[in-house]
Symmetry: C2
Subunit: 200 residues, 2 copies
């Protein structure tokens, strides 16, 4: 066992990656050892560097290597709009659309009382503090997921912000681009019907 | 760009893994940063250690951390049988079946003249040296892949070993376990028909 130890340890470690099972891990390890040792070294360094230096922006809680993220530091962003997302990955997805020029707040999760995740665990209190401290937010855009937890979180936040006189919006629900109605789930079609828009 | 640098660099590095595109790499990076920093550190160390210490066994060319791999060092293995595989991953697959107790030789590739991979590039010369130097190999089992390159390699090796008076066998071709004939490709069924066996 000792002579194979380094390769086996690598396979075990690769299984910590989401979506990577035993077969994929073995294939990745063999590929790196056989064809891409430089890639293995590069990935090793990138992992160590990221694990050490990636932290949360103190203002919006997105991932950053500094105290404040570049989005929060960007003076061209519209500070009167605040988009609330569950995770940094959701924020990245919205940024890639280039359809939004306001700021963000990352909850790092969604409310899920059944799993013991209440307002304390996700950044709800920090979100209210942030909005009150800034005093410039006019619209909160709720971009939590369209899952049970995400919808519940959006509902709770919506009620709370409306009480404080702040406009609250939610991403539109509807039929995804490129889809054929035959294969779209009924709930989505029903929502798209209710939220139908006049053609220009 | 600078503040996101560590995370972006990690995403780029993760794409060096086979089968990992931009979306998977982003998901892996976010998962590690958000939920499993310890996993990131562990994987970093495993990669560095493997890239540094994994080498090829001087006798069979499999991956090992020592000069000789544990299979070659195992006195209980039958040295008169030599199984020739293309890659260490193929060897691992055969080992996991526990159906073979002989030794191995890893070619590290297959002959592919169209891609400029001749006998020099894969370990054919080393294989012949190994068999002649040992002088105890009675049967060479060809377990190269059942692809055009693997079959061509098996053919070339088969001719060469037969000339030297060594018995040469090839893994059986046939219908995979658990498959329904309706969905098996015709070439496989044709081979299974030609190689049909008497029932016991």
């Amino acid at each position: 066992m000792t002579s194979l130890h380094a390769l086996d340890a690598l396979i075990v470690a690769l299984r910590r990656l989401p979506g990577v099972g035993e077969k994929s891990a073995s294939r990745m390890a063999h590929h790196l050892m056989q064809h891409d040792r430089a890639g293995a070294q590069l990935l090793s360094q990138a992992l160590a560097h990221a694990a050490q230096s990636v932290q949360h922006c103190v203002r919006c809680y997105a991932f950053t290597s500094a105290t404040l993220c570049e989005t929060c530091l960007d003076p061209s962003r519209d500070a009167s709009r605040l988009c609330v997302v569950e995770t940094p990955a959701d924020q990245t997805a919205i940024e890639r659309t280039q359809s939004y020029k306001g700021l963000y707040f990352v909850l790092m999760g969604a409310l899920s009382p059944l799993n013991g995740i209440g307002p304390q665990e996700v950044g709800v209190k920090r979100l209210f503090e942030r909005v009150e401290h800034d005093g410039v937010v006019k619209e909160v855009i709720l971009a939590t997921n369209f899952t049970a937890e995400g919808e519940a979180t959006a509902h709770v936040l919506s009620q709370a912000f409306k009480k404080r006189g702040i406009e609250v919006t939610r991403l539109a629900r509807g039929v995804p681009l490129g889809s054929e109605l035959e294969y779209v789930d009924l709930g989505t079609i029903a929502h798209a019907m209710v939220d139908r828009k006049s053609t220009p």
